[in-house]
């Protein structure tokens, strides 16, 4: 795992090259193992279609444009939901740390709702909002908002009191303390909340599409599975995995950029 096993002095060029080689070597080994497993008839072509067929399928999905329509729709639903959840979650979280009625009202709801499997409410949301994008995006928001709220609260609560006190004793008012001290100091944990929330948004968008059908990567996979079209199913997994990988890596990069000034900027991202 890159970043975790680097030595204190930083990896040398040889070590880095070794790392890259190990990574690609592994991907190639996996592909060869996959190919061999299908050649030796250990698995039927239905259980495990050969890599050529799966990648051929991805290629033809791409050529026909289906791949981009499905990936685009899934990304649109996941990201729209994620951004709404992020904005609302940050606001609610900040409001809750100020105490008052809002804090009192939301506190038990968050602490009971956070560990609940929100996806269970999907049929209820379908009942209320139908099978369209509104329902799918609402489900994403409902599920992705909890880590943002708890991350925001944790971040703000853990800001060192001494920092605020010293700013206050130097004559800063509340208007300066929030944007200049509290929010920057709370940033790392707020961002961690967002980093937990984005993969959830992606998972939920895919599940919602699987259940409700229609276009989108989840819908396409379930369709393929119903038609016993196993290359389609495996192509779907690879496509979804690649999109998920880019989202997670993108967030990690963004964290490193945004929080470069902070010692926690390189923190590993446990979901």
């Amino acid at each position: 795992m890159a970043g975790l096993d680097d030595t204190v002095a930083g990896p040398g060029i040889a070590a880095r090259a070794g790392h890259i080689l190990a990574r690609w070597g592994l991907v190639i080994t996996l592909l060869i193992a996959w190919e061999l497993a299908t050649q030796t008839r250990l698995f039927t072509p239905f259980m495990l279609p050969s890599p050529e067929r799966v990648f051929g399928r991805i290629w033809s999905d791409g050529q026909g444009g289906d791949l981009f329509i499905n990936a685009g729709l899934t990304l649109y639903r996941a990201l729209t939901g994620f951004f709404i959840a992020a904005a609302l979650g940050l606001l609610i979280g900040m409001a809750m740390t100020r105490g008052g009625v809002l804090g009192w009202f939301f506190d038990p709801i968050i602490s009971v709702g956070f560990p609940m499997p929100k996806i269970t409410f999907l049929p209820v949301i379908v009942l209320w909002l139908g099978f369209y994008d509104t329902a799918k995006i609402s489900m994403v928001v409902f599920d992705a908002i909890f880590p943002v709220i708890t991350g925001t609260i944790l971040g703000i609560k853990s800001v060192e009191k001494e920092l605020i006190w010293s700013a206050r004793s130097l004559g800063s008012g509340e208007r300066e303390i929030w944007p200049q001290i509290v929010l920057p100091a709370a940033m790392p944990q707020m961002f961690t909340g967002l980093q937990v929330s984005l993969p959830i948004a992606m998972i939920v968008a895919v599940v919602a599409e699987m259940l409700m059908g229609g276009y989108g990567m989840g819908g396409a996979m379930v369709q393929a599975s119903r038609m016993a079209d196993s290359p389609g199913v495996f192509a779907g997994i690879i496509e979804i995995a690649v999109v998920g990988w880019f989202l997670v890596k993108g967030m990690a990069l963004l964290r490193r950029k945004l929080l470069a000034w902070h010692p926690e900027s390189d923190m590993p991202t446990g979901v």
């Binding site: 795992m1 890159a2 975790l4 096993d5 190990a22 990574r23 592994l26 991907v27 996996l30 239905f46 259980m47 009192w104 009202f105 939301f106 506190d107 038990p108 709801i109 009971v112 560990p115 609940m116 499997p117 996806i119 269970t120 409410f121 999907l122 049929p123 209820v124 379908v126 009942l127 209320w128 993969p199 992606m202 998972i203 939920v204 895919v206 599940v207 699987m210 259940l211 990567m217 989840g218 996979m221 379930v222 393929a224 599975s225 016993a228 196993s230 199913v233 495996f234 779907g236 997994i237 979804i240 995995a241 998920g244 990988w245 989202l247 997670v248 890596k249 590993p268 446990g270 979901v271």
Partner: protein
Amino acid sequence: MTRNALIARLVKYLPLLLLAMAWEGASRFELVSSSALPSLTKVAQAWWDLALGGDLVENGAASLWRLAAGLAIAIVVGAALGIGMAWWRPADIALGPLVEMFYPLPKSALIPVTALWLGFGDGSKILLIAMGCMLPVTLGAYNGARSSERVLVWSARSLGASKLRILRDVVLPSALPEMLSGIRTALAISFVLLVASELIVARAGLGYLIGFLGSNGTYDSMFAVVLTVAFMGFVADRMYLLIMRRALAWRD
């Protein structure tokens, strides 16, 4: 509990009660259509009927079995993998990139594949949960075991402890906190995967029951099962937290 503590607790959880009352009122006074939101009393009645009729127990048992079996596999394999990778460098070099590659996979993408392999029954759900929940445990165990203090390992070694002894008495205990929080993540994911897969492809289980009741139009029963599953997830997490705290009590 003293009286003041009781009152404090009541005030703390009052918003939940208010929500429940708002729900009951909205449905009673027809602010929303009662088929879209059956009143809470009707839902409770439907829950009781389902419990007496045996539907809830039967499907609940199926779901719990899948959850327990899948999680058990995920924890055993995941922990062994994580500690093995931290302990033995070749395993880290060989498997580390693999873990890193599969970790960000949106786990729900595995649902159709496991259905393709093992059909609509228990097997596909157990495999799905085992595969989907394994990596958070692995990552927790790996990070925990790696952070075990070198000094402790060195001193144990210089005192003549065998490799196995060091693993058991030094590495495992220091890996425990992060591994346990990895398992907590796995627990949350297991519920999501269970319900999602049962909603999409199943012939038994609570998720299946929800879908069945929903397509039948018996929404009060559907709400009853939805709330049951949500509550189960909540209780499972709280119970796990208690166990986790007890397991880590030696640290303080």
